[in-house]
């Protein structure tokens, strides 16, 4: 089969509503969205706390976050695998090779990006924002909330970046999800499998979807960045 034929078949699969293909896309979107929903509140809270408060160990936490940013997804996958395997600390949950395991793994993956970008976003808010809030009668918590609201566009950029990262990762999903058809097979693990089998049509079709999603994510990010920059 030539590349042209494979591409033609890929679009036929996509436009024909191939159930297996759309199931894979559904798994990807569901897992990545839920992972983000789990990771956003604690990560944004941590990024905000690191940007706002000085406390012993703060510097260590910032360095740790920055290190986690550079950690390969497969290493995070390995750590999660060891934690979730039968003899692991979380073995009793019986989550290995389930969507829950993928969600947990991707949430761990997204956490440092979200926290580090929130930290940077909050630090870049003008110092006068908190002062203005306080002088207009805001208490400590209300002033902090106002500062977070002022950083909202940059925090949305962080969330969009995090979504892009978890959607396109393969290492963690493969290791803790197991690439089980109809259950834990997502776009990236399916592309790897189909390509290794020489089934390029489905791989190309999923690749097209992934690129389209990446484009959508980046356009969304550019929109939020634009909103934040035109102040």
């Amino acid at each position: 089969m030539t590349l042209l034929q494979a591409t033609q078949q890929a679009f036929e699969l996509l436009l024909g509503g191939d159930a297996a293909l759309w199931n894979i896309i559904g798994v990807s979107l569901r897992v990545s969205t839920l992972a983000l929903i789990c990771a956003v509140p604690p990560a944004v809270a941590m990024g905000f706390a690191l940007a706002t408060f000085t406390f012993p160990g703060r510097r260590v936490l910032v360095v740790l976050l920055q290190t986690l940013l550079a950690l390969p997804t497969v290493v995070i996958g390995l750590i999660m695998y060891l934690l979730l395997s039968r003899q692991g600390v979380l073995g009793a949950w019986h989550w290995l090779f389930t969507q829950q395991a993928m969600i947990l793994g991707q949430a761990v993956l997204a956490f440092p990006i979200l926290a580090a970008m929130t930290l940077s976003a909050v630090q870049s808010v003008d110092k006068r924002a908190a002062e203005t809030a306080k002088t207009l009668g805001a208490g400590r918590m209300q002033a902090m909330w106002t500062v977070l609201l002022e950083a909202r566009f940059a925090v949305l950029v962080a969330i969009t970046t995090g979504f892009g990262r978890v959607l396109s990762e393969i290492g963690c999903a493969m290791m803790v999800g197991g690439n089980i058809a109809g259950v834990t097979r997502n776009i990236t693990t399916a592309i790897a499998l189909e390509t290794s089998k020489g089934e390029f049509a489905q791989g190309i079709a999923l690749g097209v979807v992934l690129v389209a999603l990446a484009l959508a994510v980046n356009f969304t990010m550019a929109f939020f960045q634009g909103k934040g920059l035109t102040r």
Binding site: A133, T135, L136, G137, L149, R231
Partner: protein, 215 residues
């Protein structure tokens, strides 16, 4: 008692440098004070210390007869005491929401808030800017919003840091009008300024800050 704010033995250093060393200062209701002095003499620092946005190294402070020695106690006086920055910061939301910010914090219902905000916008001549975000405002318009945002809260002591810097004549007049309005309502305004016209204002008490002391 006519005194709204007083301080004694205020000391503030930046590193080794003693920035402020003020023995005593008293501000009365219904008065306007002009804080004059070269750049870097500590005018902004003095206003921020009064507003509780910066802590002093030492000093006793009273507001309306009540002791407010800690910066947090002075900050808690807001919005009875309001500090307005030299380059006012507007929140990234509409003009109307900026003006209504303090009212919302005080739990004033939306209907009443909308009416108060509309009246302030009319006073400041910015009713047409109601839904405009701050990035689309000129420097003068931003200052008008900041003034309206402070005025709507009816502060008893208003601290203005270079309020006329880079303003056109109309916006400058509004600042002068706000000061007169505050004085007529028996409130107090303290203005740190370089503005020659403003520093020649009649009926204002001139305080010159030099070598950390108020002359």
């Amino acid at each position: 008692m006519n005194s709204i704010f007083s301080l004694q033995n205020l000391r503030k250093s930046h590193g080794e440098r003693l920035l402020l060393n003020v023995e005593a200062l008293e501000m009365l209701r219904g008065s306007t004070y002009l804080l004059l002095g070269e750049n870097g003499v500590g005018k902004t620092t003095l206003l921020k210390i009064m507003a509780g946005l910066e802590a002093a190294d030492n000093g006793n402070f009273q507001f309306d007869g009540q002791s407010v020695n800690n910066a947090s106690e002075r900050a808690a006086l807001a919005p009875r005491l309001i500090y307005v920055h030299q380059h006012s910061y507007l929140f990234y939301t509409s003009v109307a929401e900026n003006i209504g910010y303090g009212l919302k914090l005080r739990g004033i219902a939306k209907n009443e808030r909308d009416q108060l905000v509309a009246a302030e916008m009319a006073w400041a001549g910015i009713s047409h800017l109601r839904d405009v975000p701050p990035n689309q405002l000129s420097g003068g318009e931003k200052q008008r919003v900041a003034m309206a945002r402070a005025r709507v809260l009816k502060p008893e002591l208003l601290l203005l840091d270079e309020p006329t810097a880079n303003l056109d004549d109309a916006a400058r007049e509004q600042v002068v009008e706000l000061i007169a309005h505050m004085r007529d309502a028996n409130n107090c305004v303290v203005i740190a300024t370089h503005d020659k016209e403003l520093s020649e204002m009649q009926d204002a008490v001139k305080l010159k800050l030099e070598d950390g002391r108020v002359q």
